[in-house]
Amino acid sequence: MSGAGARGIFRALRERRKPSDQFPVLLTSMVDMFTLILVFLLISYSTGGQLMYMANDVVMPESTSQDQLELTVEVAVAKDKVYVDGVVVMDSLKDWYAEKALLIPALYEHLKLRAAKLKKTQDQVPLMHFEGKATIQADKEIPFFVLKKILYTVDRADFPNMSLAVFQKTK
């Protein structure tokens, strides 16, 4: 091999090794992954449902019920707090544990005022009907002697049509 020929080969190799200005990023595998995630999310996407104020310290029980939640007044009962539409109404529920009276005045007052407002709105808005519906979300460890006071108070405050909010069982 002549010296000129060898030099030519070396030059060609050097040119080949020279880094290019453009670095093509291979997006194909990423697009594959994203497409899979997109398909999974679209399958599990639910257009129905109802937005709820979820209290942090409330773990609701699971049920086989498939009834949809409705837009109503929401009463959340944690171990020591009671919320109405996300607002803390009582922060010392444990004080009521020993009390024999079924009615909880603080909660009753709040709900009664809410019922009065809704009834007033009903008079002004012809399409709105106040049906006395309330949704109760309670912690699954709450004993019945607490729950019955809540149910009784909600019922007396003009909300006799109650629904218990639960997580749907997946199995």
Binding site: P24, L27, T28, M30, V31, F34, I37, L38, L41, L42, S44, Y45, S46, G49, M52, M60, P61, E62, S63, T64, S65, Q66, D67, Q68, L69, E70, K100, A101, L102, L103, P105, Y108, E109, K112, L113, A116, T135, A138, K140, E141, I142, P143, F144, F145, L147, K148, K149, L151, Y152, D155, R156, P160, N161, M162, S163, L164, A165, V166, F167, Q168
Partner: protein, 211 residues
């Protein structure tokens, strides 16, 4: 494939690579939006109410008197949840064939606790049998002891409401007693322990505030 594409692009001078950047942009917007709005826990509602005045024996509940209904054969169906087990009580006015009985008859089923858990399978079997004999009845009153946790109440309500079973590889459900009222368990000799405090004072105060 890549070699063919390279050869084609070298020959024609056209870039044969598919531009994936716009698709990536679309996916980068769609996926976070779907992730934020995705509901991984589905919520549901369990309808309930307090018992009406005539639902419980002795006028234990409150509210308007029950409407006149055509007899279903069962006057009252109660499921009591006690610390030591479950008890199904049915006051029957008719035979399953529809013949009126001379006097009401009470039927009891005691279902003792099995280990640490309530025997809900046996409760389901009892209720399915009652529903088969009295298909038009749809009401049940749950009488719950004070210490029973809410989770147990919901599981018992599920058992009272419907029967889930698999048939031919498909899940099926039969409605049993969907009209469920929640009440405290009571001892007739002791009467009620809870005091039904009046609301008149609070109502008057709220009315004056609203004015």
């Amino acid at each position: 494939m890549r070699r063919i594409r390279r050869r084609y692009s070298q020959r024609s001078g056209i870039d044969a690579n598919v531009d994936l950047v716009p698709m990536m942009c679309l996916l980068c917007i769609l996926i976070p939006m779907l992730l934020v709005t995705a509901a991984f826990e589905q919520l549901a509602a369990l309808r309930t109410h307090l018992p009406k005045a005539s639902t419980l024996a002795g006028g234990a509940g409150e509210g308007a008197p029950a409407e006149q209904k055509t007899p279903t054969g069962i006057v009252e169906l109660r499921v009591a949840i006690h610390d030591n087990g479950l008890r199904v009580e049915a006051t029957v006015s008719h035979t399953p064939e529809g013949v009126e009985k001379e006097a009401y008859e009470d039927i009891y089923y005691d279902i003792p606790i099995k280990g640490q858990e309530y025997d809900l399978d046996r409760l389901r079997a009892v209720l399915v049998d009652l529903k088969r004999r009295y298909p038009r009845h749809d009401e049940v009153v749950l009488l719950v002891d004070d210490a029973i946790p809410y989770d147990t109440i919901v599981q018992t309500m599920d058992t009272c409401r419907e029967e889930l079973y698999a048939e031919g590889g498909k899940k099926k459900r039969t409605i049993l007693f969907p009209n469920i009222a929640l009440s405290e368990a009571f001892d007739e000799s002791k009467g009620f322990e809870g005091i039904r405090k009046g609301t008149r004072e609070i109502d008057k105060r709220l009315e004056s505030q609203q004015r």
